[in-house]
Amino acid sequence: MSLHLSYRAAPGNPWFSWQYVRDNSDTILAALREHTWLTARAVLIAALVALPLAVAAYWFRSLAGPIVALTGVLYTVPSLALFAFLAPYLGIGAITVLTVVALYALLVIVRNALAGLNQVPPEVREAAEGMGYGRWGRLFRIELPLALPGILTGVRLATVSTVALVTVGVVVGRGGLGQLIFAGFQNNFYKAEIMTGTVLCVLLALVLDLILAGVGRLLTPWLRGRNS
């Protein structure tokens, strides 16, 4: 209850309050850490599952239709409904949040990776074949590097939307910064708490996006000259 006292210490109900941030830095940092950690794990898991799926859809054209259609249908299902389906089985906690957000990230990455792979020009593929590359050699030496920009776009999109989506996890008690937003709402619309959570969310998305953009530049040195 001592927290509530410090909430009231700021006069009125300002949008920003340094006093709130100072007094509750522990809570805020814990929420931020949880949010970052959930996002990072979700995107990592999603990427590890999505890439083999995209490659499978790329190699076997009969699989491409069903995979793309299934991801489309799953993407239509609202996040809250997905929480509703999984929570009774996975329980209340981080596992459920992780599963839901990873699933959405997965869909975005699969779609973009497949588009990136499909953009590899047929001449390039034939040239690689003529040089004696096998299916795996071609995939790792030629096709994946060429599809890298598309894959990275997918990962970046997935990361930004995952940061926003994690907040919905408050419904099962693990929302990271969403916890702050929701607590502020319940705590008589305590604006400073809501805004702190929101601003940190957007900043986190921005920072992660910039990091991934930097990683992308490092991984695709051959594109650098072309862009500038």
């Binding site: 509703a84 929570a87 009774p88 989506l165 910064l177 929701f182 921005l206």
Partner: protein, 240 residues
Amino acid sequence: MNPVQQAVVWLNDPLNWTNPGGILDRLGEHLSMSALAVLLGCLVAWPIGLWLGHSGRGGGLVLLVSNVTLAIPTLALLTILPLTFLGFGRPAVVVALAVFAVPPLLANAYTGVRQADPEARDAARGMGLSGGQVLRRVELPLAVPYLAAGFRTAAVQVVATAALASFVNGGGLGQIIRAGFGLDIAAGGGQIVAGGVLVAGLSLLVEGVLALVERAVTPRPLRRARRAANRRAADATAGA
């Protein structure tokens, strides 16, 4: 009894449908909120998108709007808007949902006008049509398939997002899920799953219906052209 059986039992109770705050009430709230939000989104996004596409400016702006809204958590917007002059209640929720409808509507309106055949535009200019007339009589009809595609994306997204209005007691089908989570997970499990089925079912239904509408408003020749283009793209990638 597992949660799915519980959900079936819950859905089979007629009182859960007809009671005040029951499924039918929530469905009505959900649909009216979504419809208003999409309408508001169209009123804002289409004129801006069409004009930007017509004047050929603002491509960067469209991209920026899409990217920024991706990063803002829905929950935050639903929580913040009631604290502004909109006040606590339905208008704030509708505006929050409309914000998420704007990017697909805007981007598709912009692209729809930009992709209009430049020769058709020049021909219309040559016939003495003014800028506004070119937009209204040439570019707008040609953009209709894109507008329809954007409308579909926006509407489905809004119906899906409206489930989150329940966080701020805004009503809608999400309220059933939230009420279930409010109970113990063992007691509310059935209601949680039942709410999930309803919300997911409604989204898929809206998606399906609007897909048919989109097909209907795409002129037949364009439909065939698009399919042929898709097939060419698929063939080009079938090298392996």
